[in-house]
């Protein structure tokens, strides 16, 4: 008998007014000691599914939950409030997505964990603390003794996630649900946390549901996988089988869209067009049909059921055997590989940037953060320089000096021979026109109160360039949008589309250099591939240079001509992409590469043979 079995789970928000079926007819099961990965794009219903296992979906009438959820021999759906309390934490525990908000900021770790224990066992304070200490040790938090007295803000992101896991483990649950436990973390920390979860599962004999959108993580850490799309499970089976021989076109598309460390450098990804459906709008047929390259009429009219294809492998597709079209691998631009040529577009020379740390209302400087600590770099025309490094290493800060958002404390930043810190009027106009930026957050980088037309026209007007509608339409078409977008507000677009608009805005003044600060990190892989392809196309077309910041080494592999690795405000290694991947010289670079999820060297034998090829 499985540890957990979920049958026909359906969760509908606002069932009485504007129903949003977030989860529809989901079946899942997990055995003790087993890891089930749930993958899918944002909004596909992963978190909601997990929450319903804990009975934490909103109460009626805001939300209606149907179906059965059994844990061992308990039917969870029939529990009352008291019954749920005895299940939560004790039998099923959950680690939430964002460690920075999941812990109570005003209570010490000791208090929070001890509370979790005392909620289930009549132990005294002292005993509870002992147990809390043990839980912290279990989660491998360094110096657990002192941590008990600490508050969450006194920990780093990774330590916070360990603390959250300790909290979940405290009362000894049989099933642990980890909702994207590593998305917010650095690669190195990611790997450690996932490894730890693996060990815990094995040692404690727990069931583990690992929610993620990262196929690399799935490949290396899951026994079985369930792929969700638009609130349904569309494919499920043993990890090796699903990743190695996907049956549902969505799974296949997802795989093709995922940048891979082991793929050839600067390989073009296969993007999935369109974007996920709006759940509130009911449509018959397969939800993926509008985006599916092999969809038939039947796909649009009739919803396919989950059907077995291989032993234990089920997929919801009308024609799972149809071949996906198009070359899977194509070089972005083979000619531009190799060594840079010509004059550099921009140059950082021994750049230093210190942020004063101010305290109090007098705002006196009490300390300095050496965000950038002597960086020299060159950007070449028509090439992409990828700047990688852990969070806080100074990547953003460095670009801010180029964008004139900060004045460097030392060194010089120049663009085409112009000293960026001291441009004259004419030079300033040029800088404003030729150096553009695309930011990470597609929601924050467009003014939500302006229409797309206004957003696009603004830089053009400033520089007295043609801002006619035709020109705006041309810009939109370049990024794959059409004139219909002009009079709408950013809110009407998906994340990927917004990022395209941001790119269109950057392209408007015909720049020569675009800074992309984590420009694709916030996007789902399917959309990320669209944007990466677009950037590559534009580069070829306009001979653009990119300064491309990311922490995802797989992404770097697909875009970069050159790579610079940054740490603690310094460049520890830089050079052409091939060389860095082939023979990293610096310790830290090697570490980064090793830790990256999905790296073949990490795959435990028997799990992901297909993936590592």
């Amino acid at each position: 008998m499985p540890l957990l079995s979920v049958e026909h789970l359906t969760v509908t928000f606002n069932p009485d007014s504007r129903p949003v079926p977030a989860v529809t007819g989901v079946d899942l099961h997990v055995d003790a000691g087993e890891t089930l990965a749930v993958v899918g794009e944002s909004g596909s219903g992963k978190t909601v599914t997990a929450l319903s296992v804990l009975g934490l979906t909103p109460r009626p009438p805001a939300c209606r939950t149907t179906g059965t959820i059994r844990l061992g021999d308990t039917d969870l759906t029939s529990l009352d409030a008291r019954g749920w309390r005895s299940v939560r934490g004790r039998r099923v525990a959950m680690v939430f997505q964002d460690p920075s908000t999941a812990l109570n900021p005003l209570l010490t770790l000791g208090t929070q964990i001890a509370d979790a224990i005392r909620a289930h066992e009549p132990v005294g304070r002292a005993a509870a603390r002992e147990r809390a200490l043990a839980a912290l040790e279990l989660a491998r938090l360094p110096q657990p003794g002192t941590r008990l007295e600490q508050y969450p803000h006194q920990l780093s992101g990774g330590m916070r996630q360990r603390a959250a896991i300790a909290l979940a483990l405290a009362a000894g649950p049989q099933l642990l649900i980890a909702d994207e436990p590593t998305t917010a973390l650095d690669v190195a920390v990611q790997a450690e946390i996932l490894d730890m979860l693996d060990t815990l599962r094995r040692d404690l004999g727990m069931g583990l549901i690992l929610i993620t959108h990262d196929l690399g993580t799935v490949a290396t850490h899951a026994d079985r996988v369930a792929v969700m799309y638009a609130g349904r499970v569309v494919e499920t089976g043993p990890t090796g089988q699903v990743l190695g021989d996907p049956r549902m076109p969505y799974t296949r598309a997802l795989l093709a869209a995922t940048p891979r460390l082991d793929a050839p450098a600067r390989q073009r990804l296969v993007a999935i067009g369109g974007h996920p459906p709006d759940l509130a709008v009911a449509a018959p047929g397969c939800a993926f049909a509008p985006r599916c390259p092999v969809a038939l009429d039947v796909c649009r009219d009739e919803r396919p059921a989950l059907r077995p294809h291989a032993p234990d492998q089920l997929a919801a597709c009308h024609h799972p055997e149809a071949p996906l079209p198009g070359p899977v691998a194509a070089e972005h631009d083979p000619t531009s590989a190799g060594e840079p040529t010509g004059e550099p577009v921009a140059e950082f020379d021994e750049v230093v940037l210190h942020y004063p740390v101010r305290r109090g209302l007098l705002r006196r400087v009490v300390d300095r953060v050496r965000a950038v600590d002597g960086v020299s770099l060159r950007l070449w025309p028509g090439r992409t320089l990828a700047l990688v490094g852990e969070s806080g290493s100074g990547k953003t800060s460095l670009t801010r000096t180029l964008l004139r958002l900060e004045r460097p404390t030392g060194g010089t930043v120049s663009y085409s021979g112009i000293d960026v810190t001291r441009p004259d009027r004419e030079q300033l106009r040029r800088l404003q026109r030729e150096v553009q930026v695309v930011f990470q957050n597609p929601y924050a980088s467009l003014d939500p109160r302006m229409t797309v037309a206004q957003i696009l026209a603004e830089p053009l007007r400033v520089h007295r360039l043609d801002a006619s509608r035709t020109e705006l339409v041309r810009l939109l078409e370049q990024v794959g949008l059409d004139a219909a977008a002009l009079d709408r507000h950013p809110a009407a677009f998906s994340g990927g589309q917004r990022q395209r608009i941001a790119i269109a805005r950057a392209l408007g003044p015909r720049p020569r250099l675009i800074v992309c600060d984590e420009a694709v990190s916030a996007l789902d892989v399917s959309i990320q591939a669209q944007v990466l392809n677009l950037l590559a196309d534009l580069q070829r077309e306009h001979d653009l240079s990119y300064l491309f910041i990311t922490h995802d080494l797989a992404v770097v592999r697909s875009v970069a001509h050159d790579i610079a690795v940054m740490r603690h405000g310094r460049i520890v290694e830089h050079g052409p992409a091939e060389r860095i991947y082939g023979s990293p010289t610096h310790e830290y670079t090697r570490l980064l590469l090793e830790m990256a999820p999905g790296h073949p060297t990490q795959a435990p034998s028997g799990r992901t043979a297909a993936w590592s090829r």
């Binding site: 804990l54 939430f96 509370d115 909290l167 209302l361 007098l362």
Partner: protein, 313 residues
């Protein structure tokens, strides 16, 4: 921490300077001759001129300001034009009533406002919630003078359960003092209670929607503990801010309330001072009040640090 305190106190200097200048200039704009009030309406012009000279009113404005500020800096707030008493002494006489009024109002706010706010938040969208928030809006929307008049009518005149006016220092007759402070304190406290109630409800609801509450629920904690420890503590930070801001508002309320209940507090001192053009008294009293409000702000910031370990100074 000590360094922070010193810095914050140092910052009060420019603010207080601004306050003094504004206050001084504003008061000099008041029309009317202060000597009329002092000498009576039938005094001769010569007497009045002599008195003006006596009070230093014939010197240029900047001189008067410097004289006053100089005095303040050496701890001398001057003397009342009207009664010739030292202003500092007058203020010391008047402080207890106002401080007591404010304290009772704050006490009401904490003892009624917070629990009521919690109740409303926990019983969200029920009749209890509607009733409490409705009462809150009502209290917030009733001008103090109106409320005071109604309270006097009902409790002092119709029911005769409390005396309609008068003040006895707490130290002399605690019971008598409290009985007389009940109505004024309710008047002044009504708004504070309402504000605290609304803020508590709002920020508790917000806190209940936070991720860490879901985490706590996922570990199987009791609702009661989640609300009172996990959510309320977080919710209290904004409640403290809002309550502190109410200290300033409280002073406005006491102005009206003390006038109606004829309490010898800072409010009546200031208002009567303005009306009778006893400027040294007004200057001194307002300066004391403003300093007090600023100090409360400072204390509030210290309370934050106590409530929220993320804040260090």
């Amino acid at each position: 921490m000590i360094g922070y305190l010193v810095r914050r106190l140092a910052q009060l200097i420019p603010v207080l300077f601004v306050v003094s200048v504004v206050l001084f200039l504003l008061l000099r704009l008041l029309p009317g001759d202060p000597t009329t009030e002092i000498l009576g309406q039938e005094a001769s012009a010569a007497d009045r001129a002599a008195l003006r000279a006596d009070l230093g009113l014939d010197t240029p404005l900047w001189r008067q300001f410097l004289d006053w500020i100089g005095g303040v800096l050496t701890g001398d707030l001057g003397r009342s034009w009207l009664t010739d008493e030292p202003v500092a002494g007058v203020i010391v006489d008047r402080l207890p009533a106002t401080v007591e009024l404010g304290l009772i109002a704050l006490l009401l706010a904490v003892l009624i406002g917070i629990p009521a706010g919690v109740l409303a938040a926990v019983r969200r969208r029920t009749a209890t919630d509607s009733a409490l928030t409705g009462l809150g809006v009502l209290a917030l929307s009733t001008p103090h003078f109106y409320l005071a008049a109604l309270l006097i009518l009902v409790f002092a005149i119709w029911l005769r359960v409390v005396p309609p006016s008068g003040y006895v220092p707490f130290t002399e007759d605690p019971a008598g003092n409290l009985v007389r402070m009940v109505l004024p304190a309710i008047t002044v406290g009504s708004t504070v209670v309402a504000v605290v109630l609304r803020q508590t409800r709002g920020s508790l609801l917000a806190a209940l929607g936070e991720d860490y509450i879901r985490t706590a629920e996922a570990t199987g904690l009791r609702r009661r503990r989640i609300v009172t420890v996990y959510a309320l503590r977080n919710a209290l930070v904004p409640v403290v801010t809002v309550t502190a801001l109410q200290i300033g508002a409280l002073m406005s309320a006491t102005v009206v309330t003390e006038t109606i209940f004829t309490l010898p507090g800072m409010g009546t001192l200031i208002v009567n001072g303005i009306f009778s053009r006893d400027l040294p008294v007004v200057q001194g009293a307002v300066l004391v009040v403003v300093t007090f409000v600023l100090l409360v702000n400072l204390v509030t910031d210290l309370v934050y640090a106590w409530l929220d370990p993320r804040i260090t100074y």
